[in-house]
Amino acid sequence: MNRWTAIIIQELLCTARERLPQLLLAVFVGMIAASAFIGSSARASVAGVYREVVRQGLTTAPNPFDALSPLYYARNTVIYIVLIGALLAIVIGVRSTLRDRQARTADLILSRDVRPSHYLGAKLTGLALFILALLAVSAVINIGCISIVTGHAMSFDDGARIASLYAVAWLFMLPFVGLGMASGICSSSSTTALLVPIVIWSVMIFILPLLGTAAHPVSLLNPVAAPPAAQSGFFAVTSSLVAPLSLGEQFKHVSALILSDPQATGTMTSGLLIIAAFAAAGCAAATMTGRVRMRSELHD
């Protein structure tokens, strides 16, 4: 076993043993499992409302949910990835580097012939693999729950789309792992280490979309996007500035296209490129930390 593999295995073991991220993990997997049933309940109520509206002769419009794809039931999953998945990624990233600083193992490891970038790169790889495994399990649970709700096994094409969604989710969560790791190394206390990336996350998820589209923060929790403000004048300028930085909205847009949401328009190329750029930046931020910084003391 070479050093790289040893660090990856150690990271996987330590992350799996951490109790608190496990709590978040349980919430995440639980909500992924519940999302299909929440979608099913919403769909049943819409169908009932439509039948009642038609019975009362109030509309001649077709049922908006006719010929609904089973992928509809995965729409809530996207929100849980943006909310819980990203926070989970931050927490495991922060805990990974804080653990070294608290136990002073960074001193010991860096006394050996190990470059900090290699060490941190291996740790990041371990965490990326952990998230990959977690998302793989979540995808299987999601497909299983949707199959239960629809009453038949999911088609290969739909299954492939769900798998693609989770692949993009992995890319989306990577920058938050990197950010968490970097914050765990650079912060002077464990509180700041956790808080700084969470504040950055809240800016990307809740504040930037408001600047570009006037979307209210709570409406961003709904998988159905609110109609955006007209893209002229003030919002034309702010939208062009903040849209590439609104990582959550980019992920939601790409996910909507993957899930064949009839309301989603455009292509996913730019969204994917932006998510990949954030992932690269997050990984670079985590792995480019210097030896001195890694060995700095915590002031809790």
Binding site: V27, G48, I79, V91, L98, V199, S202, L210, N222, G233
Partner: protein, 323 residues
């Protein structure tokens, strides 16, 4: 009583010197102000669109009267209130958590408890400091919000509007104190640094984001962009008649939402600020009659969090969990 006041004074001095907390409060203020600026820009855009529409109608020889978009200044605070309920509560968690962990980290707990303090004096001092701090901070925030409404939003505020703002501020103070005290209680009950914070964050995630998200997603009208009833061309009066057939589902959805203190806070403040259309421009008595249960649940949450903080931050409990 004197010892409680001394401890509260010490806490406030500590917080005033804590640059990190000052930065967080400034960030919160900037965020709320930005939301008002954006709401104001959005309204101006609607007015401009309205004038373009009128011009187009006139050019086509159509003289139909179209009502202009109406400005209700307090409705511009929707984004700001939502930021206070999401980001404000997050900062409240950090503040409450840091009240205990700083003592644990500095090793000052043993020193403080070597003095002849009353059983609840330590917790009482911290709670009093949090109450004073949030009262001052939220008052300051609402003064900034009002100034932004007047200057940037160019919104004419009436005497009653200031009272509504004060009521919204009072609800905000109670809401943020709840979160700080819950985090303080969790920090007192956990041994490891960070454990209390992560537990409080999980609680925050569930109560502030997940429960309201589930309730919101279950709303049939939220299933289609622009609203289900709008897409079916069903007006508000018929919408109520239709939804009367789904009381069981709506009650379940309402109960899910009501289990979150965040929704209780949101419903009450949205009503007083007229953000919820049915309460817009209504007298305060009418709003109170419709939302007193939300205010009472918020107060119940406050009482619960005060009790939790008082019981968790006693000498016996806190020293047992000290590192």
């Amino acid at each position: 009583m004197t010892e409680t006041l001394t401890l509260a004074h010490k806490e406030l001095t500590d917080l005033r010197r804590n640059r990190f907390m000052v930065v967080l409060f400034a960030f919160l203020a900037v965020t709320v102000v930005l939301s008002v600026v954006v709401a104001s820009a959005d309204f101006r855009l609607k007015i401009a669109d309205y004038h373009h529409y009128l011009d187009a109608l006139a050019a086509s020889g159509n003289a139909a009267a179209v009502p202009a978009p109406q400005l209700f200044p307090l409705q511009m605070l929707r984004g700001g209130i939502e930021y206070l309920e999401i980001i404000g509560s997050l900062f409240a968690v950090v503040l409450g958590y840091s009240m205990i962990t700083k003592e644990k980290g500095r090793g000052t707990l043993q020193l403080i408890f070597s003095r002849p303090l009353g059983r609840y004096a330590f917790a009482g001092g911290k709670i009093l400091a949090l109450v004073l701090l949030w009262t001052a901070t939220v008052t300051g925030l609402f003064i900034v919000i009002t100034a932004t409404l007047l200057l940037v939003g160019n919104a004419p505020l009436q005497g009653g509007d200031y009272l509504r703002l004060a009521l919204a501020a009072a609800h905000t103070i109670a809401y943020l104190i709840i979160w700080s005290l819950l985090a303080m209680a969790l920090a007192s009950l956990t041994r490891r640094t960070g454990t209390g914070l992560i537990l409080a964050l999980v609680l925050w995630l569930i109560v502030v984001l997940i429960i309201p998200q589930i309730g919101d997603t279950m709303d049939p009208d939220n299933q289609i962009p622009g609203g289900l009833f709008a897409s079916l061309q069903v007006d508000a009066s018929h919408e109520q008649a239709v939804m009367a057939h789904f009381t069981g589902y709506e009650t379940t959805r309402d109960l899910i939402e009501q289990s979150s203190v965040t929704k209780q806070y949101e419903r009450a403040t949205f009503a007083y600020l007229g953000i919820k259309t049915e309460y817009n421009q209504q007298p305060l008595g009418f709003i109170w009659a419709g939302t007193f249960n939300n205010t009472l649940w918020l107060l119940a949450g406050l009482a619960l969090s005060v009790s939790a903080a008082l019981l968790a931050a006693t000498k016996k409990t806190i020293l047992r969990k000290a590192p």
